[in-house]
Symmetry: C2
Subunit: 144 residues, 2 copies
DNA sequence: GGTAAGCCTGTACCTGGGTACCGGATTCAA
DNA sequence: TTGAATCCGGTACCCAGGTACAGGCTTACC
């Protein structure tokens, strides 16, 4: 059997395989999400192929609602074999956060539904009866 | 009976009554959300008291998920007695948008729940069986 | 009429997650 | 070996929705 040597990749190759912009790669490096890679003699970055996987993990975590700072911490914790419970704890906290955001959006949805049902026709001078607009004192925060 | 003359308010008074920052007031003026008010001889803005109400409307609309640009358009439409259906149409569109965001967040919530239930312990090297993390190919967009 | 509080314009900065552009250096394939 | 493609660092810019600051003028109250 022949083993293929896992070659180092250059910036553009990593970016393409991971589906991200080259600038994003350098941005993540600055943010501490990916380690500073080795360089060629001329100073070009050369990445191990696992970097592509790592970028996938980062993107997945982002889709779970973690910020880049949070992802960086999670990766850092994992890197130096942090005791254990970090990810789980954070996921629980994030879960609460997401639930909260869902609740806010549901309130917004319900009020919008009322606005539509009541046939409101103006923000400032709605002529409909029982206009729900003045009572739109909903979620404390804009929905982000 | 005596009628109280509704006095003009100065910037700080409007800001305080509406619960917004003074800078925000000027920002909204630049964005076209509130009209340019009359000025005192010395150049200070003097607002009619209705401005406070208007700011409340703007904040309510924001809480319903409308962007400032959208609010500005809605107000503008209302101002020059736009035919009718503008707010209603927009509310319907916004409703769809909100529903979509809720759906995304629900997907995220469910995956996070799985992560917690599976006792995942690491983003990159989770040792739990049936780890849901690699399948976190969820919503296309980060949750904003 | 003095003085403190309030307001003026203009500009810069903030968060979060990137993206774009520049001039110059390097790498790769023919 | 040469020319195209790629990459380098540094800096500036994008979105939204504001917020902050500086230096100077106005207003309000005693």
């Amino acid at each position: 059997m022949t083993y293929e040597i896992t070659r180092r990749l250059r910036t553009g190759q990593v970016a393409e395989r991971a589906g991200v912009n080259i600038q994003t790669l350098r941005y993540y490096e600055r943010r501490g999400l990916i380690a500073e890679p080795e360089r060629s003699l001329g100073g070009h970055r050369t990445y191990p192929p696992e970097t592509v996987t790592l970028l996938g993990v980062i993107k997945a975590a982002q889709r779970l609602g973690f910020t880049l700072d949070e992802v960086a911490e999670l990766l850092e914790a994992g890197r130096r074999g942090h005791p254990r419970p970090d990810l789980r704890e954070r996921a629980i906290a994030k879960l609460a956060e997401i639930e909260h955001r869902i609740a806010d959006l549901v309130t917004i949805r319900d009020t919008l539904t009322q606005v539509v049902a009541a046939r409101c026709d103006s923000l400032t001078n709605c002529t409909c009866a029982d206009c729900p607009l003045p009572y739109a004192e909903l979620a404390e925060d804009p929905p982000r």
